[in-house]
């Protein structure tokens, strides 16, 4: 006869669907805990929405694991750093760095970039020369020549530059690079391409390719490349800490990147705790407001009842999404505003249900007995009425969690998300706006969509498992 907490638990555990739900939610929580422990809380503003941070990442490339299904070998993303230098004298004094890398692919790298860290000089500013040597031995001399600007007046030697942020040169964007490639093509192949044409065709094919019969640079020259960085200095004590050369790959990471070069796996991971946070806070607040107002409405009755019920009728009949858009637009795109608006429009349905349950419960004799014993209305509502509706409230809370997550995703998708927190909805929205669907960037659209669905489903599973606990009619006979 008795239905203890243990019975409830075993009833819940008996269904396969609740086991699945619990397993899923444990995974969700584990990932969230990991993210919270390892990511800074200001991840959104500090990293995610800062294009500079993602500059050296490839733009809009698929995950690396897609390679195993593809016949075309895409070049890997390579970040090559070295601080090993030699001092040489060739006319002038030189600091020389050598970077070697292997390129084996059927596609050209997406881009190349060069960075230099912490330059210290005493007299004239140094001049940086970059030379690329292809595996077949042909060289692009002085691919890049960059003169470090003079220190501003008033500074005393030693002059330190590029200490906080490095000197970074994006090779496809540099006119000097175009010019030297044009020179290289003229002397090596007798080609007459202008620097502008070279830019439009993409400099990578000339840096990493060789011409076929028709003269087009379509073949990737495979083998070991060498980048020589020579810093021409005018004082023996001048130093360079390190240099970096990035060969932009055509595949990246576990989840690929978006068109800003952001590593989607990182953004998707950060979405876990955000989604759970929004879901839990919203559903908790909503059920608290809904059940408190519902109990008051049902138990106190009269004018209070009328007022609460009319307000919830109005809220129920307003089209929610346009109002949500309107309010978030007015109040500002802040996560708390979004939660608040979701709560304000979420409680009314629950209130109506709870009220009808309370109307029935308050007719019971133990309520009358409690009134006779002098208990106040508040006491009765808290001690006698609430326990009657508590199981229902609890399942409603779990049911409402996915609704809140989906609502936030919908708002984000409409561009009304909190910009300081990356969410799955926002990643979807960026993808959609950039035309990821038409460009075929499936890795930008499918994973966030799936994660939203799976998270919502996980709560639905748990709520389904709880139903027979709350509603004895659904219990299986054993």
């Amino acid at each position: 006869m008795g239905f203890s907490a243990r019975d409830a638990l075993s009833e819940f555990w008996a269904s396969r669907i609740s086991k699945l739900g619990v397993a899923l939610i444990i995974v969700l929580f584990a990932i969230s805990a990991y993210v919270l422990a390892s990511y800074p809380l200001n991840f959104g503003t500090q990293y995610w929405n800062k294009p500079q941070y993602w500059a050296d990442y490839p733009k809009g490339v698929p995950p690396t694991w897609t390679q195993s299904f593809s016949s075309v070998r895409r070049p890997e993303h390579m970040i090559l750093t070295t601080d090993v230098s030699q001092k040489k004298t060739r006319g002038n004094m030189l600091i020389e760095f050598n970077i070697n890398f292997d390129l084996r692919a059927d596609m050209f790298p997406q881009f190349t970039s060069f960075s230099l860290y912490k330059l210290t000089f005493y007299d004239s500013p140094p001049i940086i020369h970059l030379t690329l040597t292809k595996p077949d031995g042909s060289k692009i001399e002085d691919l890049l020549v960059e003169a470090v600007p003079f220190p501003s007046s008033g500074q005393e030697p030693p002059y330190v530059k590029y200490a906080e942020s490095p000197l970074r040169i994006y090779l496809p964007g540099s006119p000097a690079v175009r010019n030297s490639i044009a020179d290289y093509l003229r002397t090596e192949y007798g080609s007459t391409l202008t620097p502008l044409e070279i830019r439009n065709m993409g400099i990578e094919q000339f840096m990493f390719g060789s011409p076929d019969e028709s003269g087009a640079f379509t073949n990737v020259v495979e083998g070991t490349y060498n980048i020589r960085v020579q810093v021409e200095i005018f004082n023996e004590e001048d130093t360079v800490e390190s240099v970096k050369f990035v060969v932009g790959g055509q595949a990246f990471g576990f989840m690929g990147t978006d068109t800003l070069g952001r590593d989607l796996s990182v953004g998707l991971l950060f979405g876990f705790p955000v989604a759970l946070f929004i879901g839990f806070i919203t559903s908790t607040l909503t059920t608290i407001v809904g059940s408190v107002l519902g109990i008051m409405s049902g138990y106190i009755g009269g004018r209070t009842d009328n007022l609460i019920q009319r307000i919830s009728d109005i809220l129920n009949n307003l089209p929610q999404l346009p109002i949500l858009i309107f309010l978030v637009f007015i109040l500002g795109q802040n996560i708390w505003n979004i939660i608040m608006v979701l709560v304000v429009f979420g409680w009314s349905g629950l209130t109506i249900l709870i009220r009808s349950m309370v109307l029935q419960a308050k007719q019971e004799q133990f309520i009358e007995a409690s009134i006779a014993s002098g208990a106040s209305a508040r006491w009765i509502m808290a001690r006698h009425i609430f326990p009657q509706v508590a199981p229902f409230v609890f399942t409603q809370m779990i049911f409402y969690t996915p609704a809140a997550i989906l609502a936030e995703a919908a708002l984000s998708f409409l561009g009304l998300g909190d910009p300081s927190l990356p969410t799955w909805g926002q990643i979807l929205e960026r993808g959609f706006q950039t035309g990821a669907i038409f460009l075929g960037y499936w890795w930008w659209i499918i994973p966030p969509g799936l994660l939203i669905v799976v998270t919502a489903l996980c709560f639905v599973f748990i709520a389904q498992g709880l139903e027979p606990v709350v509603n004895p009619r659904l219990r299986r006979m054993r």
Binding site: E364, Q365, F366, A369, S370, A372, S373, G374, A375
Partner: protein, 321 residues
């Protein structure tokens, strides 16, 4: 010592059909340690009267007047808040019809019995538990009942828990509204013995509401018979049972089947009066086998045919007055 003194208590309800005159001019006295058995058929105003005394009034009450004195203190002039804080359960407690429904199924029995202590005396759970266990012992419930839920108890145990709840504040006066209905006979006997013992030990004044005259006579010192919102006859239990004066009481007693007797139980023709439009004169005259002309015209007088016996009937009154 007089515990409860009611004078001319009126309680009317406003309904869509009109005003229901549920209690009309009821007066009665109860001494400390005395039980008054209040009998009458359904809808005669027994429960309304007890609600009037405990002030558990429904929202549609239109008339509520008269005088209720508890231990010499007038209750009718007290504000609702004051009544709730000082009188409810501390001075007047109640055992409701059907013990089963008086216990909240989702709260532990002990917690519920302790509720008045927590509400009125602001006791913490530990103190309250000690008191509850004491009263449980008194009513014959084992201590482990404290942590049980209502559905885990038998009918008799539930009844005891409800009685324990009524007595937890040690009130001088308790209203028992059909406390034994829906119990089987052996449990009924157990409960009655318990109530009799508690009445003696604790010296509590009681109103025992029932429609079972035999049961009522078992515990009552005094008995009152109610009909159509009036107390038509009141006296000591012996007087009312052995020499009933009012025709209604006589008929009521005659309708009770007797053990080892071949006489057919009698019945009362007609139906209880409609309290929205009560008959003129005596409420009982349409069903009365001894009705006279005057009964239809004028309200019956209050007569005292015997010492301590009060009857509202023209049979004993001076018709020429």
């Amino acid at each position: 010592m007089m515990v409860l003194k009611i004078r001319d208590l009126y309680l009317y309800y406003q309904t869509l059909r009109g005003e229901v005159k549920a209690v009309e001019g009821v007066s009665l006295d109860i001494e400390a340690g005395e039980a008054l058995g209040l009998v009458g058929e359904s809808g005669c105003g027994k429960t309304s009267m007890s609600l009037g005394v405990t002030r558990l009034l429904p929202k549609n009450v239109s008339v509520y007047k008269g005088s209720i004195e508890l231990e010499g203190k007038e209750l009718m002039t007290l504000s609702n808040d004051k009544f709730r804080n000082e009188i409810s359960w501390k001075k007047i407690s109640m055992v409701f019809q059907g013990a089963m429904n008086s216990l909240n199924p989702v709260i532990k029995v002990g917690t519920q019995v302790a509720e008045p202590l927590r509400v009125h005396l602001d006791m913490d759970e530990k103190e309250a538990k000690a008191q509850v266990l004491e009263i449980f012992d008194n009513v014959g419930l084992p201590p482990e009942t404290y942590d049980r839920y209502a559905h885990e108890l038998s009918g008799g145990m539930k009844q005891r828990a409800v009685v324990a709840m009524a007595l937890i504040m040690n009130p001088p006066f308790v209203i028992l509204d059909e406390p034994t209905s829906a119990l089987d006979v052996s449990i009924q006997a157990q409960t009655m013995n318990l109530l009799k013992r508690l009445k003696k030990e604790r010296h509590i004044g009681m109103i025992f509401i029932t429609h079972d005259i035999a049961l009522s006579s078992d515990i009552s010192d005094k008995m009152a018979v109610m009909y159509g919102g009036h107390i038509v006859e009141m006296g000591s239990a012996e007087q009312v049972i052995l020499s009933p004066k009012h025709p209604y009481t006589q008929k009521l007693l005659a309708s009770t089947p007797r053990l080892r007797s071949f006489s057919q139980p009698d019945f009362i023709p007609g139906a209880p009066p409609d309290l929205v439009n009560p008959p003129t004169g005596c409420n009982f005259h349409p069903r009365c086998h001894m009705a006279m002309d005057i009964c239809r015209e004028r309200d019956p007088p209050t007569c005292y045919p015997e010492e301590g016996q009060r009857v509202e009937c023209w049979l004993y009154g001076d018709k020429d007055e």
